[in-house]
């Protein structure tokens, strides 16, 4: 039983990675326009738009 205790820090670490990724996406503004993102995929052209680098 105690042999598997190393799994606890591993799982917590994985959870932390998820948390950090979420905080990053939040900061990056990826939740600012959820409806828009789902519509844009239908109309996006291959040429990147000017503001995509901003």
């Amino acid at each position: 039983m105690t042999d598997f205790f190393f799994l606890i820090p591993v799982s917590i670490l994985l959870g932390l990675v998820g948390l950090v990724v979420f905080l990053w996406t939040l900061r990056d503004g990826q939740y600012d326009d959820l409806e828009g993102a789902s519509e844009r995929i239908l109309y996006d052209s291959d040429r990147p738009r000017r503001d995509d680098t901003v």
Binding site: G15, L19, L23, D51
Partner: protein, 744 residues
Amino acid sequence: MTCCAPSPAFAEALAGGPNRGPSDNEVRLASRVLGDGLRQSEFSVPAIHCGACIRTIETALDALPGVVSSRVNLSSRRVTVRWRDDGVVAPPLVRRLVELGYEPNLFSLEATGRDAQLAALVRALAVAAFCSMNIMMLSGSVWSGANGGTREMLHWICAGLTLPALLYSGRVFYQSAWSAMRSGHTNMDVPITIGIALAFALSLYDTIFAGDQVYYDAVASLIFFLLIGRTLDHAMRERARTAVSGLARLSPAGALVLDEGGERAYLPLADIEPGRLISVAAGDRIPLDGVVIAGQSALDRSMLTGESLPEPVAHGQFAPAGALNLFGDLTMRTTADVQGSTLHRLVKLLDDAESGRTRYRLIADRAAAWYSPVVHLAAVLAFLGWMLVGSNLHDATTVAIAVLIITCPCALGLAVPMVQVVAARRLFDAGILVKDGSALERMAEVDTVVFDKTGTMTTGLSAPAVLSGSAEDLAMAASLAGLSRHPYSGSIARAFATDRPVAWTEIFEHAGLGIEARLDAQVYRLGRPGWSGPLDADGRTVFSRDGKVLAAFAFEDQLRPGAHDVARSLKVDCRVEMLSGDHPAIVGELSRKLGIASKGGLMPADKLARIAALQAEGRRVLMVGDGLNDTAAMARAHVSMAPASAADISRNRADFVFLRNDLSAVLHAMMIAREARDLVRQNLGLAVAYNAIALPVAIAGLVNPFIAAIAMSASSIIVVLNALRLGWHPFRTHRLVPMREALA
């Protein structure tokens, strides 16, 4: 795509109707400087609704010279444009949007920018979620029978995982509780804070001394659930802030000032003192009170007084701020600064009215007022009781803390905001914006509905009725009318428009009379009888050739779609009235048609007095209005509603704003508000019932950490599921159903 065609209301804006957007100069004044000569402007564009709209707008704006980038946000219906300011002309952003068929509203400076508080709440929520989920997982092994060293180690890990939630995520509650305590009263956050702190302290004690009363999971999930409620609450207010109060002023932000040397400069209104010369172009609003020095025109004062007919102005006459200059360019000498102008005086009246309104206490606050004393008392009594029956200090404290934890208002904290967020979402889908939760609660109490006429019951435009004239003549009249800015001309031009161009020459518009032009050496006139034709000709407007009548028109107010249905449905359980500043005869006729009571010829203060009188009878009044003349009455009323075409001040002060042209939004808002009220009551009932069961169990000392965690989560989830029921009626054929079809 057909779904992206301009709405009919929008054709009005193109025709220079009441919905004219901001001028390019205003766009510049309201934009934000980004540095490097870049500026950023934000527009609220309620008509955006699909991917094709995004593409149309972005492609068109990007193609404009001077535009660096444009971005549409579909969720908030906003467009952000960055443009290069070369100091000469701003890119014609508004005109381009209007041409595409989207009506833009300019965001003012202070309304732009992201909401830092919401982002902080979501971050705190994410941390709490991470902590509580991991602790739940580890607690699972404790509950399933871990013991000895294993259990102790798991306890210590849980303690470590609770710290971020306790120290970082919980701050929201500590701060609020502290400020409440300091000002000498208590709120919902006080028992929460005490419960969290005591539960953590007890758990830590038991962890150190190898006990089994460990509540880390309860502490973390408590913070998590409560933060969900808090975040929803905030998001709701935030949406209202950006959507409603961010809509920019229809009154101009600045004016074109002429100095003695003939130089022109566009200055903010605050910098213009009385006695300066200003120029007001045709189609703009009068920025400041003043006297006309040069030029001839007619003023549309409907926003100020509710009068539907424009009045001519010329040299020496007074023009109030807020009126719309219809035909000709005017040069004016200002007689007041911003503070002294008509517009500002109306705003003053408004503030006075608002201070007269009795403050409404939110249901959640009323619940909290009795909730915390009861919980604290129960905990203290449980502690004393167990001490009296001879238990030791540790066990008595454990019971007292179990009482605090299990009664912690998770479900109560979610009960109200969850329903209101769902209701706001349903309203948003129906094209209605709601300012905050209190507005929903107040809307549900309404028993009297008062409408304004011009611009609310009616569209503010008039529908022409043909008294005489052949189709040929009507087409000629429409073509001539298209050259004029008068509202009657606009409606004739729209109603009988043809594609056939007519080669008019020597076109001249006479303010207060009509428009005149020549064709094949004959004089055509469209205007009032007596000028355009014989004085005794039928109709309000006559079309004539060389004095001979070709066609005659009468006008009637064009009702907003749904007006009849709304009047009929509201009469079932509400008192319905119409108050207007327009002529009593016009108002009376319309009210007979609708079958409701009415009063005409009212000044803004009279409307306010009428609302106050109704309230003195103990009635809860909903005021629906659009003009500045209604704003004071709207501020005084229990709850208020305005169409999106309303004056900006009315729109900002209104509790509800409906974006679509249809008046049935009033009905829809009331129904959803009532349904939300019922659900809130059910939810509060559920939360109380949960407490009624849990409290005796906790006082009896039968609660262990496992039961506490299950009970708390279950009650929260039940409340959330109940809130999601709003607008979902599988077993009922309700009148909401046909209404929703009509709105779709």
